[in-house]
Structures are given as C-alpha cells and as structure tokens.
C-alpha cells in the first residue's frame, strides 16, 4: 500500500491503496463514485470510462498510480446544479434502457464533443464505436448527441 493523491471532480483525495489498483475500484469503492462501472476489465466496452484531462480513459485498466491530472466522472459533469447538455439531451431523448452502460456512452460523447464540437454523423459513429450497449440504445444515443450539439450551438448563438 502507498499514499496516492487523486484529483476528482474538483476535490483532492489522498488514499492508502496498492498503486497497481485499477482506478475503477478506487473511484467506486473508496470514493463512492458509482458512475463508472465494471463491464469487462480489459478495456473493451467503455462502461468504466472517466475523463482525465480531456481524454476518455478506461478506468478498469488504468493503474491508480499512473493517473496524472484531473479526473472527471459522470457525477462531475453537472455544474452548479445544472446538468451537462449531454445529460439533458439524454433525458429529452429518453436514450436509456437499463442504463448500465450509459456512463460509457455519455463520457465517450463528452470527450468527443470537447475535442470536436460539431462532428459529422460519421465522426459520431466512429468515435462512439467502442462504447458498447447490450440493450442497443445506439440509435437514441446518437440522436441525443446530435440534440446536445444543437442545444449547445443554439446557446452559443444566443450569447
């Protein structure tokens, strides 16, 4: 065990854990952040996705000791009590069935829009391809991403 320092959703935490522990278990079990979930443990499904300094990262295969920078989890997307435009769009499109994978869908979409605010349909499909959903909500997830893009653009024009 050793002391690991993490910055998550604006707070700093010091934890005494084995440095090889995957970030996922520290977030879930030590910090009670349940947005990222276990899906595969081998970085194939995106269910465990968090954003570290703007990049979507699979927390199930990221040793906690390797983390540098600010971690954002699903719980950290809302600002000042207001949902992120993606979360709002997800609700408006009702883009969820069971919801277990939706952390991966939303966080992957967030990383996409942060680097490319106006992706084409093709770019959305390509960027989201690693975010798996076994309820098959893909169609509405894509609609929700497009809705969030429109909402953000409309807000930008209004300012």
């Amino acid at each position: 065990m050793s002391i690991v320092r993490l910055r998550v959703n604006g707070s700093t935490h010091e934890l005494d854990v084995d440095p090889s522990t995957p970030l996922l278990y520290v977030l879930r079990n030590d910090l009670d952040l349940h947005g990222p979930r276990f899906g595969c443990g081998v970085g194939q499904c995106s269910v465990c996705t968090v954003i570290i300094d703007g990049t979507a990262v699979r927390s199930c295969i990221t040793p906690v000791s390797a983390v540098r920078g600010e971690i954002t989890t699903l719980e950290g997307l809302a600002k000042d009590g207001k949902l992120h435009p993606l979360q709002q769009a997800w609700i408006e499109e009702q883009a969820v069935q069971c919801g277990y994978c939706q952390n991966g869908q939303i966080m992957t979409a967030k990383a996409l829009l942060d680097r490319n605010p106006n992706p084409s349909d093709e770019e959305i499909r390509a960027a989201m391809d690693g975010a798996l959903c076994r309820c098959m909500t893909y169609y509405r997830v894509q609609q929700a991403i497009k809705r969030a893009i429109r909402a953000t653009a409309a807000k930008g024009e209004g300012q």
Binding site: C40, Q44, I91, L132, Y138
Partner: protein, 792 residues
C-alpha cells in the same frame, strides 16, 4: 446493524405517527424499507434510498390487503408497491401511470417500489413480457379499489352521496360546489386502509370497484418521461452493483477451465500472500476466493492454483461440428407430428416443391454488466441485494438451497444491467448467499467478463428443415416444418438444483427439464401442414457452460428466422411480391378471438406503407450479374408473440468486396393493443429490433470440445454504433381495426419486435444479392463466402 432508515421524504410523510405506530404501520403496510429510486416528487430531491437492515423474519406481504399495495401519505402523495421488476423497458413508469389513473392522483404525486420480497406482494417479478398485460391489471384493480374506498370516506366526511363527488389529483370535491373538498391525505394520510381484497391468487386479486373504461384513462396513453432516467444519467442512482454494507468483503469465483472438470487439489498458499486475502471457499467443484478489497479478490481468483481433472469423455462437440451433431444424435424427446389436411397428397400434386435447412447457433445474453449480488447474513437472516428479475423465485430458491426458512430470506431488488431472462436463473445471488453464510459477513460478488460470456445461460441452438409445395398459381398448398432444438436440461429459473453453483456442488435433479422446440407463430392459411419438433442434448448436461436458458423470447427469433426466411423463398419461387404473398395467406385465414387476422393484415399493410414498399418479386438483382460494389435490398418478416403482432422491414446494403452487411433502415409496424406510454414503447421496440440485429449479424457462442472460446467483446462481437441503422421507424398500429374491442387490452411488448428481425435481414440480403444465407449470424466472412460461391 444500523437502525431502520428511510428516505427523508417518506420519513417526513410519516411524521404524523409516533415511532411505535409508524413502525407497526410500515411493517403492516409493507413500507418497511424503501429501496428503489424515486421519481420527481415536487419539493423533494431525486434520491436513491439506502437499503436498510430490517431484522427479520420477513413474512410474505399479504396481496389481499389493500395496504400492501398502496400507501397514502400525509402530503397527499401515494406510494405503490408492486411485485414486478423493470429491466430497462420503462415498465415501472407504465405501472405508475396505470395506478395513478385508477386512483385519480397525478403522476408526480406518486412513486413506486418494485420487486423487494419483504415489502412488495409476490407478482413473480418479470418474465414473458406480461408485466403490463397481466400484472398491470391487478395493479389497476387495487388502485381503483383504493379510489372507491376514499370516495366513500369523502362521502361521509362531506356528508353527501358518492354520486355527487368529483375527484382529481387526490382531491375529492362536490361537483356542485368545488370549494367543498377534502384531500386523500386528510382522509387517510399515514393511516391504514384496512380493506381486504378477494381473489384466488395475486393475478385475480380485486376489490369491489371496476377499473375505468379505456376512454376515461388520462395518464395512460401519455408519453411521460421515465422516472428512472435522470438518476441514471447523473450518476445518483444506487444500483445493486453499488451496494455496500459495513464489514462487507469481496468474492470472485474460480471457474473450471473446461466443462466437467473436477477439483483435485487447491493450493491455498498460492494466494495467501495477497494483501487482504481471507479465504478460499470450495464445495465440490465450486471454488471462490474472498478478500477484503475487490481488486484483491480479482487478483486472488487469477492467481489461485487449482489442479483440475478432465472428464473421461469430451463434454461436447466443437461449435463447428454442432449442427452435424444435432442432426445425428438421438433426440431426448420427439413431439407427436401435428398434421392438418393431407400434406402427402398435396406435395404429390404440387407444381413446385422446395426444401431448405436453416441453422442458428448458441447465442448468449452476454450482459454488459457481469452478474453480481451482495448477500448479508446479519441477524440470522439472509438479505440479497440483487437485480434479479424474478426476485421472489430467488428468495424461495436460496432458502431451499441454504436450508433456511423462507421467512428468513429476503431479496431487495435494485436496478441492474439488462436481463432478458438471464436473471430469471440468477446464479450470482445463490453464490453470494452461500459465501455470506460461510463467511458470516456480507459478501459482494461479481462475475468477470470472461465468466459471464462463457458461463451465462444461452438461447438454444436450432436446426430446421422446411419443405413447401406451391400449386400452379404459386399458392402455398403444403408445408412441412421440422425443428430440432438443443435444449435438454433448460435452466430457466432460480431453482436450487439447477443454478450453476448447485451443479458444481454435485447437486443433480432426477429429471432434467425436457426443454422444447417451438413452432412458428403466423396467421397464414396453409391447407396442408405437417409440424414436427425434437429436442436433443449435448453429451454433458451438468457443470457445462453450454446451458440453455431464457433469452428474450426464448425460441422466437430462431424459429421466425427459419420460417419467415422460408416463406420468402416460397414467394421467390412463386415469383410473387413477398408482402403480397404473406398478405394473401393471412387473408385466407380464419379470424380468432383476439382478432389476430385483422390485426395482422393491418400490421403488414402499415409496415409496407411506412416503408414505401413497391410490389415486385425478390431478388432485386443478383450478385453474379450486378456490377455494383454496394448491393441494396429490402426484406420483410411478420410474426406475433402471444397477442402482440409485428411486421419488420429491413433495408440492407451488402458490400460485395467485404461481405459486410449494413442495415440502413428498419421499419416496424407493431400492435400490442393499448399503449400505456407510446414513446417508451417505441424505444423498447427499437432496442428489441437492434438486439435482434446484433444476433443476426454478429452473435455466436463458439467453443472447442471442452470450453467456450468466445469470451470477450473481441472474440464475441456485438452490434456497435457503426452498425446502427440510419433510420428506424416504429408505427404503432394499436387499436386498429377492430370495433369489437370495446376495452382495448394492453398486450406485452418487450419481446415481439425482437422476433422477426433476423428473418427480415436475411430476406433483405437475398433481395440485394440473390443469395440466401441460411445460417446465423451473417458475419462478413460468411456472407462473402456465399457471395463468392454464387459468382462461380
């Protein structure tokens, strides 16, 4: 353990009662612990409540007491308690809509608790898409009864006959003088109804009040947003997988590396130096490791050295040999042939006879979230926190499995990954309970990806042989249907002698379930028919990862693939338009009690109209004569499941160079009667279709002669974002065209749209290329090989 805790809103709602009577009230009324997520209650935060330790025993909530179902709180809100679960199709929202409508309370004044065995009446949990169709009707009746009782109370309170009263949003007022009013809360808030219901069982439980006629329903029929979605997208919902308890430890299973393997020796020293290591627990061939922390348990499960002994003979043929094996092996059961008319004579006089065989492999659930449960053995009871869709069955099964009284076991239902039949036989709950009993501490267990994909229950593989005879007018006059399913020892439910841990412990039931092979569901008039079905078994039926179970409409997609593909082959042989060919056969059929004929015609017509179907025979072109790199085609398939009728049209693009099939467009016409929440229904229909599209294009369990080899998302591919159609259209045909349905029934809709999609895609591939793919899945290499074969 901690004392009772309640969500603050419930706490507040019950503040009018002193603590003793509150507890008695809650216990009696079933509101002992609130464990699920809540919708938006005015003035209340969204919250996911802490499941609380309530010392048992846990007697069955009495379904013949109104208080078991409905509690009216002092703030004029209601909590509904129902014995169902929601696998993500929005049935919880639908149940609330149905009950609010009957109770005459606003949707936002209600909340719902589902599927926790100590506080909700046993409606069996979920399965068979009958939640709205059957169980929802009981919910409506009890809510109507509560309204009746409240109106009688209001009548006394206001001193006027019931006929002079109006009620809306939980407020009863005089029709003649709306200022004279009393709320439900003022009449009964925080108090018991103490009203008995009648009925032989929970499905017939009823009060004296009739339910409202459909034309008086106001909340039913609205596309209200699902209450569970906001806490699922902001991360605030507490799922079964998130449950933690003081003193909890983590477990992981160590599975046999091949089917039928027996433990010879376990070297515990191989894991003893792992920090946090607590124990290896094994019983027979069931092995698990327990550690303080989750990542430690994962490491220990990988590191534990176990010597396994192979079985004397190979447990099964490889997946490459599966269909040959199924054709060759002696069946475990064979149905009596079902014969209508004189098929032999009809075939003898037929102008054209065609035959085809179809194959569907094992397909798994492969849930996105591997199986999990937390079991708590505190206070001499056993509580299992689980997403089991059939929590009541799990409770009974675990009580039997552990040999403890049923009253000491409860299952607290919480949200989880998609179920579709998988958690009807919830292995993880049994394992967690067993380990918790052994440890004397709460144990949380989750399966690994590899374990889930290899060892989950699977949809049965099928081999079909069809033969059809057309007369000189191209009319189908004779049909032989033969289906063989590998389904012996089907593990459908939470049974203490069939769940995986029981099998690995060496528990065997005398008579394995016989399994079944199904016949198609269509309204086609085919005058001469012969239907035969057989069930076969693998050499090893216990302790094997190739266990069949209920996978979303357990036989429907396989059977409909074969049958509706063959109907398309017949239409092509008859040079008939595939829609018209089906339509004509439905038109010649007799009507039945649920108007399946008229509704089938309406559904097929609506699908064709929505698609813009231009009549012509298939194929549109042949790969051998077309020069296009991308070949486009369309295909239809029609079926019903119970009383719900569906037709799906797929439009595909086939890449002749890669064999890749992209389903560009899906159109579904769907009739499930009354739609409780049309948008929620549409989304479930969409996802049901895409789930089947995944089965059509990608999914197959692969194995060598001793283990499953498709164990992750690379070796077991699934549909992805890039496979998603450009357009999905769902047309709800409900209600049309039957004037004789005065009180439009609501039929189940969770599985029907899943059923015909594989066939629709196969038919579209044929239309695009002239090549018929008779083996699922249609992965690029298979399609390419078939296209190339057609070129020579």
């Amino acid at each position: 353990m901690s004392a009772l805790t309640f969500p603050s809103e419930i706490e507040q709602a019950l503040c009018g009662l002193d603590s003793t009577s509150r507890r008695a009230f809650l216990k009696a009324s079933g509101a002992l612990v609130i464990t699920t997520s809540f919708g938006t209650i005015p003035g209340a935060n969204l919250l996911a409540a802490e499941p609380a330790a309530a010392p048992g025993p846990y007697p069955d909530p009495d379904f013949l007491q109104l208080d078991t179902w409905i509690v009216i709180h002092p703030d004029n809100t209601a909590t509904f308690f129902v014995g169902k679960t929601d696998g993500g199709q929005g049935t919880g929202t639908a149940f609330r809509q149905m009950m609010c409508d009957e109770l005459d309370i606003a949707y936002d004044q209600s909340r719902l608790v589902m599927g926790s065995t100590d506080i909700t009446p046993d409606q069996g949990g979920s399965g068979g898409s009958d939640g709205v169709e059957r169980d929802g009707q009981t919910m409506r009746r009890v809510a109507a009864e509560a309204r009746r009782v409240l109106l009688e109370m209001a009548s006394s309170h206001l001193g006027v006959p019931v006929e002079m009263l109006a009620v809306a949003n939980g407020i009863v007022s005089l029709k003649s003088d709306p200022a004279k009013r009393v709320t439900y809360a003022e009449l009964i808030g925080g108090k018991r109804f103490d009203v008995s219901l009648t009925g032989q069982n929970v499905d017939t439980a009823t009060g004296k009040a009739p339910v409202k006629p459909v034309n008086e329903l106001r909340i039913v029929g609205q596309s209200l947003p699902r209450y569970d979605i906001p806490p699922k997208v902001d991360g605030s919902l507490k799922w079964a997988v998130d449950m933690k308890l003081p003193g909890m430890v983590h477990a992981r299973n160590v599975r046999p590396p091949f089917a039928g393997a027996a433990v010879e020796r376990i070297d515990e020293s191989s894991v003893r130096d792992i920090p946090g290591f607590l124990r290896v627990i094994h019983h027979g061939n069931y092995v698990a490791v327990i550690c303080e922390r989750e990542e430690q348990a994962i490491r220990a499960a990988k590191q534990l050295k176990v010597e396994w002994k192979r079985p004397a003979t190979a447990p099964f043929p490889s997946s490459n040999e599966l269909f040959d094996y199924m054709r060759r092996v002696t069946p475990t059961s064979t149905s009596q042939p079902q014969i209508q008319g004189d098929p032999e004579a009809a075939f003898a006089s037929a102008k054209q006879v065609i035959e085809a065989e179809y194959e569907v492999p094992f397909q798994g659930h492969t849930a996105i979230g591997p199986a999990h449960a937390l079991a708590d053995p505190s206070d001499g009871q056993m509580t299992i926190y689980s997403n089991d869709m059939k929590s009541y069955g799990m409770r009974t099964g675990i009580a039997k499995f552990l040999g403890i009284p049923r009253e000491k076991v409860r299952v607290v239902y919480m949200d989880g990954p998609q179920v579709y039949g998988r958690t009807a036989a919830d292995d993880a709950g049994f394992e967690a309970a067993f380990l918790a009993k052994e440890m004397g501490r709460p144990v949380r267990l989750q399966w690994t990806r590899e374990e889930e994909t290899a060892w989950d229950t699977k949809g049965p593989p099928y081999v079909f042989k069809l033969r059809g005879g057309l007369d000189e007018h191209g009319k189908l006059v004779a049909l032989e249907y033969d289906a063989c399913a590998l389904d012996y020892n089907h593990v459908g439910y939470n049974e203490p002698d069939t769940v995986l841990i029981a099998q690995l412990m060496g528990i065997r039931r005398d008579r394995p379930t016989p399994g079944s092979a199904a016949a198609p569901s269509v309204m086609y008039a085919i005058p001469n028919r012969r239907t035969t079905t057989r069930v076969v078994a693998l050499p090893m039926i216990w302790e094997t990862p190739l266990r069949t179970g209920n996978l979303r409409d357990p036989n429907g997609p396989q059977v409909t693939f074969a049958f509706e593909s063959f109907i398309d082959e017949l239409a092509a042989a008859a040079k008939a338009d595939p829609v018209q060919f089906r339509f004509d056969m439905i038109e010649r059929a007799n009507e039945d009690r649920v108007f399946r004929k008229a509704r089938s015609l309406a559904v097929v017509r609506a699908a064709a109209k929505a698609y813009g179907w231009e009549p012509r025979p298939a194929p549109r072109q042949r790969v051998s004569t077309s020069r296009d790199e991308i070949l486009t085609g369309r295909g239809i398939a029609y079926t019903y499941r119970n009383n719900t009728i569906v037709a799906v049209i797929a439009e595909v693009e086939v890449n002749r160079k890669t064999g890749k099939v992209w389903t560009k467009r899906l159109v579904c016409a769907h009739d499930c009667g009354l739609a409780i929440n049309p948008e929620g229904l549409r989304h479930t229909v969409e996802c049901g279709m895409l789930h089947a599209l995944s089965r059509a294009l990608w999914e197959e369990v692969q194995f060598d002669t001793e283990k499953v080899t498709s164990v992750d998302w690379v070796s077991h591919p699934t549909l992805r974002h890039s496979d998603t159609p450009e357009s999905i259209e769902v047309v709800l045909v409900n209600g049309d065209p039957n004037p004789n349905r005065p009180d439009l029934p609501a039929y189940g809709a969770g599985e029907t749209s899943h059923k015909p999609v594989i066939a629709a895609v196969a038919n579209a591939i044929y239309d695009a290329t002239g090549v018929r793919i008779r083996r699922v899945p249609f992965r690029p290499e298979r399609v390419l090989a078939a296209l190339n074969a057609a070129m020579t």
